[in-house]
């Protein structure tokens, strides 16, 4: 394709040398860098030498926490058109599991506010209407994480929340005020 412009055609020896160099360089990069960094294999010890091995580590499903976890049970009675907000104080990467069940339909909004930034930075994870939700939650940032429930029916609804997790305290926001609920760790440590 290059024949018109290229005055000096490459010799077939040069073409072969170039191709061989391309292959050798690729194999060298593969063995010295790509295998350690991407696959955790270090056949030549270069991954260790260059500090590339750390890149090849798979994400560990185990995540260490420094405190004993806590368990919580809470019940709210919501009269027609009343609402309540209940949130846990959690650090970055803290997890919890939860189930809440109500004896009537509620509007819910699971959301979080980053620590110290307030409502305008709130992030909502799911909203909907229903009698129950079960799930697990992994805090994407430090802050308060929880639910807003609203009874939009004409009947009184009782809601029960069960949860366990690496949270510290919880806060109830209700009727224009808020109060903190301490939750004790499940065992002494």
């Amino acid at each position: 394709m290059a024949e018109e412009e290229n005055a000096k055609p490459p010799s077939s020896k040069n073409i072969l040398i170039a191709s061989a160099i391309a292959l050798i360089v690729a194999v060298m990069v593969l063995f010295t860098a790509i295998l350690p960094a991407e696959f955790g294999r270090d056949p030549l010890g270069t991954g260790e030498l260059l500090g590339l091995n750390a890149l090849g580590l798979d994400e560990n499903p185990f995540e260490e926490q420094l405190e004993v976890h806590r368990s919580d049970y809470v019940e709210f009675i919501l009269e027609p058109f009343q609402s309540v907000e209940y949130k846990y104080l959690m650090d970055l990467d803290a997890s919890m599991i939860f189930s809440w069940v109500a004896d009537g339909e509620l509007y819910y909004d699971m959301h979080a506010e980053p620590a110290g930034l307030g409502e305008e930075y709130a992030e909502s994870y799911e909203q909907g209407e229903g009698n129950s939700r079960m799930g697990s939650f992994h805090a994407p940032f430090a802050g308060i994480h929880g639910w807003f429930w609203e009874n939009r029916s004409l009947n009184t609804v009782v809601i029960e929340l069960y949860s366990s997790g690496f949270y510290q305290t919880s806060t109830v926001f209700r009727d224009g005020g808020d109060y903190e609920r301490p939750i004790i760790p499940i065992t002494e440590y």
């Binding site: 394709m1 073409i15 170039a18 160099i21």
Partner: protein, 237 residues
């Protein structure tokens, strides 16, 4: 007059250039990831623009497809020829993308991606006149681009097949993805063509074309080696 420099110096310059550009690429594995992935799985029904966006994004960020196209248009000076070859490539990959997903062809993504890497090697070897002077037989360049287009399309199909795609709106979504791929390809190609055209006005273009294509070839070997390693070493889950 062209300055004649020793072969190895030219090669070194080209390879350093390529290595430099590879360093900036953090991950070799080119798949649909993160929030895009969860979006694709959650979708149920036609979603034209999201899939178009994903197709375009896949192409613009897909250095395997892009390196191949750099090789294809490297010696194409006239837009008419660029359009001819790129259309052949697009027709090729559209066929296998659509067929692959719709007929649920099960091909190994790593092996296909390794072949895509080798398609870059092939094109670079062709560009340094390897077929003309070493093999002494030049396969039809248009057919080659079309055939490699078929493989690139299979690669695109495997990326979509990694997900549990809902049958609801599947055809619309694949066609949208395909259109997105073409849009992304036009965007990326315009950029590559402009850069190559600018470079062509300088004398260094032909002088470095041999080294550049050798570097391209090394890049193709690397991608193929990376994908073969993944095929051989990575756990299946």
């Amino acid at each position: 007059m062209l300055v004649r420099r020793p072969l190895f110096k030219k090669l070194l310059a080209g390879l350093l250039f390529l290595l430099g550009s590879l360093v900036s690429i953090s991950a070799f594995g080119h798949t649909i990831e993160g929030s895009d992935a969860s979006f694709v799985e959650a979708i149920d029904g036609p979603a034209i623009f999201p899939f178009m966006y994903l197709g375009a994004k896949h192409m613009v960020s897909g250095y395997d497809h892009l390196l191949f196209l750099v090789g294809v248009i490297f010696f194409l000076y006239r837009p008419k020829h660029v359009i001819q070859y790129v259309t052949l490539f697009a027709v090729g990959h559209s066929i296998t993308l659509l067929l692959g997903v719709l007929a649920d062809l099960q091909v190994n993504a790593y092996l296909i991606d390794a072949i895509i890497g080798l398609s870059i090697v092939y094109k670079a070897f062709e560009n340094i006149d390897g077929f003309k002077y070493v093999v002494k037989f030049q396969p039809n360049t248009k057919i080659a681009v079309f055939v490699f287009g078929l493989f690139h399309g299979l690669g695109l199909a495997t990326k979509l097949q990694e997900f549990d795609l809902s049958d609801n709106g599947l055809v619309t979504n694949i066609i949208s993805f395909n259109i997105g791929v073409e849009i992304g390809q036009i965007l990326a190609l315009s950029f590559v063509f402009i850069v190559l055209s600018l470079w062509r006005t300088s004398r260094s273009y032909l002088r470095h074309s041999f080294a550049t294509n050798t570097a391209l070839m090394a890049g193709g070997f690397m991608l193929a080696g990376y994908q073969m390693s993944a095929y051989l070493l990575q756990s299946p889950f």
